[in-house]
Symmetry: C2
Subunit: 200 residues, 2 copies
């Protein structure tokens, strides 16, 4: 028998459907909601509905936004000669936070992954090629995870662009800032060595 | 600058207010909501509001419920001679799940903890004493955490009941089922030894 009446049990079950929240975590969250101000629960409830109501994908870059084209695509102050290719809108946020990039983005919606049944046709590659028809674009920066799927996606798209006159680059691979050389993994250390920079 | 438009950012912030969910976890949850069916977000939103609207505390036992007195307190099939004293409604759920207990409950709402500014007056001890006026009650089972606060609370209430003719017990302390003796901590092993059971 469930010891809790309907509402709490339903809230626990709804929380438990979220990723990486198990039954115990869901119970803790539900009891937090129970003991916290009504305002907080209301805000979360409204934010959930607002996201489903308002958020769409930008018709140009594929980023999540509330107006399509998204604010980045329509921002005239951004450098239109560079497009940064990412797998996921979350990476757009990470790169924006650095404040180091002023170009445009293109969100693929994933990486080529035969194990997860994601092929090149499932990604927004055709839309990327179409954007590259614009002679304004001079550089394509790949900001994909440097794993098998990321590398496969970079190789696949690079080959498609073999005949296109455009600079293609990839994020630098190397040691994270502040990391300890002693604990660096072999592959990262190898990449850091082969990609070493000249200091003068 | 925030790379996301309002709705997603607001959802991330609302998730991040929940305990043990940091900014990265909140972002992951928000993107999960974005890519999952609308129905799921709607259910969570409605469950949040329903909990705040419907849930109250049982006037008798202090458990969370939607009707006061709660279903356990009004259930005529339950054994009214035994009251199990717990700190938190979550423990009621845990004990109910065992299916081993058919008595009533009393939720204290915490344990005596001077460090957290919780004194005996903050707990539902007066209500417990009042319930014990009923001669039907024969046994009080303490199901509090066996830490300093739990022990202090058991001692405090037991002293108040020194003159009351009622059996007072506490959950058995010992080795968890399936645990490895080799890795048992000293205090648990000590309790298991001093509380050893005769087999015939």
């Amino acid at each position: 028998m469930a010891a809790f009446d309907g509402s709490i049990q339903r809230l626990i079950e709804a929380f438990a459907k979220l990723p990486s929240i198990g039954p115990k975590g869901a119970t803790r969250l539900a009891f937090h909601v129970l003991s916290s101000p009504r305002q907080e629960a209301q805000e979360l409830a409204e934010a959930l509905i607002a996201v489903k109501d308002n958020v769409r994908f930008c018709e140009i870059c594929g980023n999540v936004c509330e107006t399509s084209p998204c604010p980045i695509c329509v921002d005239s102050r951004r450098d239109r000669s560079t497009i940064c290719v990412v797998a996921d809108p979350r990476v757009v946020m990470s790169i924006e936070r650095t404040g180091e990039y002023r170009g445009l983005y293109h969100v693929l919606g994933g990486t080529i992954n035969p194990m997860a049944n994601v092929s090149a046709a499932d990604l927004r590659i055709a839309q990327l090629l179409e954007r590259l028809q614009n002679p304004e674009v001079k550089e394509l920066i790949f900001a994909l995870n440097q794993d098998v799927e990321g590398e496969a996606t970079v190789t696949y798209i690079s080959r498609l662009l073999a005949q296109v006159d455009i600079q293609i680059t990839q994020l630098a691979s190397g040691l994270p800032v502040g990391s300890d050389l002693e604990y660096a993994d072999d592959i990262t250390l190898g990449h850091a060595l082969s990609g070493r920079r000249s200091l003068h």
